[in-house]
Subunit: 214 residues, 2 copies
């Protein structure tokens, strides 16, 4: 988090480049871990910079979680304050969530691993930064829709599990694709088809029967 | 897989007890791994029996996967041959899947780990035993529903990802519950509420608009 210049090898983008490279390694390997030597090789940066910027590998992982989750929690927070009907908000949120899990397929697993492996204080920080705001946002978003009669009366917290589960499919998808469909790539075409599918099904699931069909 | 008597410590239930104990350890710890010493301690069986029955720990894990997945794949296979309308079949399948993931919250992760870590031949065996039949079953089940006008025209393979994702929520649920709701137990009451939620939303999502509401 320091802005001080590193003793060597420092460029304005070195911290960001380390995070981006770690992200790419985990995405390509379908894994939730990196080796510092691979990180150094791929980024072209001395692995001492990991210590400088993040303290250690665990610190790098936390920073990556914060970076990636911000696209979801920040997005939902901004949505809630928009002048937009609940249906449009939910569509927008689902779409953004699919895009985020496609870009960072390790994300949900990284979140759970860090909550599990961190000490009590850090686990609480992660939960309060990323989990609690999401739960509150779901509460508000679903309640708005129920109160205006657009959504059926459903449990927002269970719906959080349901929607996240549907979105978090890209991590293992490649393995299934390879063995069932002789295809080993997460294409953008697949992402777009899956995004349409999830939004279509979820809106049909949640819209009150009197509303216009999805 | 041998039926020969073990040199020592063998009882008719020793193999099953090892599997059941390994399952309980992974369920309670929210993990996809066991230590053989803990397995021996908890089961009261000599860990040489793991070698006798399964060859090694990886063999034990494969046998556990086969045991647990059989409740899903066997169930779906039997359902397809039943005289029952597609809507009732899908409800029954979703319900069974929620029950299975509640009982074995590590299951989806174990499946993906073994497909990933096994050699090509074993990965193919796992895929052909567990993944391919499920995909074919979804194809048939959804097509039946679409052809009779009960289901909307959706992609069965994308729906497989959607439904499995929604069902596979108990693995990380405890962490979320602990940090957002001060609750650390997967209760049967929660399972029942989540089962109702998933079936309700999924049927609303998939039923053609002319059908009776869920």
């Amino acid at each position: 988090m320091s802005d001080d210049p590193a003793p060597c090898n420092d460029t304005p983008g070195a911290r960001a480049l380390l995070l981006e490279t770690a992200s790419a390694i985990m995405r390509e390997g379908d894994i939730v871990d990196i080796s510092l030597s691979e990180l150094s090789l791929r980024s072209g940066l001395n692995s001492a910079l990991v210590k400088y910027y993040f303290g250690n590998k665990a610190g790098l992982m936390k920073a990556l979680l914060d970076r990636d989750m911000a696209t979801i929690t920040g997005g939902v927070g901004a949505l809630l304050h928009k002048e937009m009907d609940p249906e449009a908000k939910l569509r927008r949120h689902l779409s953004a969530m699919i895009d985020t899990f496609f870009a960072y397929p390790y994300l949900n697993r990284l979140l759970m691993r860090l909550v599990r492996d961190s000490d009590e204080a850090e686990a609480r920080r992660i939960a309060e930064t990323h989990l609690v705001p999401l739960h509150k946002a779901y509460d508000q978003l679903i309640r708005e829709g129920v109160e205006t009669g657009v959504f059926r009366r459903i449990d927002p917290q269970l719906f959080y599990f349901f929607a996240t589960g549907a979105a978090d499919r890209f991590f293992s998808a490649r393995l299934v694709l390879r063995h069932c469909f002789d295809q080993d790539t997460l294409t953008e075409e697949l992402r777009d088809r899956y995004r349409d599918h999830v939004i279509d099904l979820t809106m049909a699931a949640i819209l009150a029967r009197g509303s216009a069909p999805a």
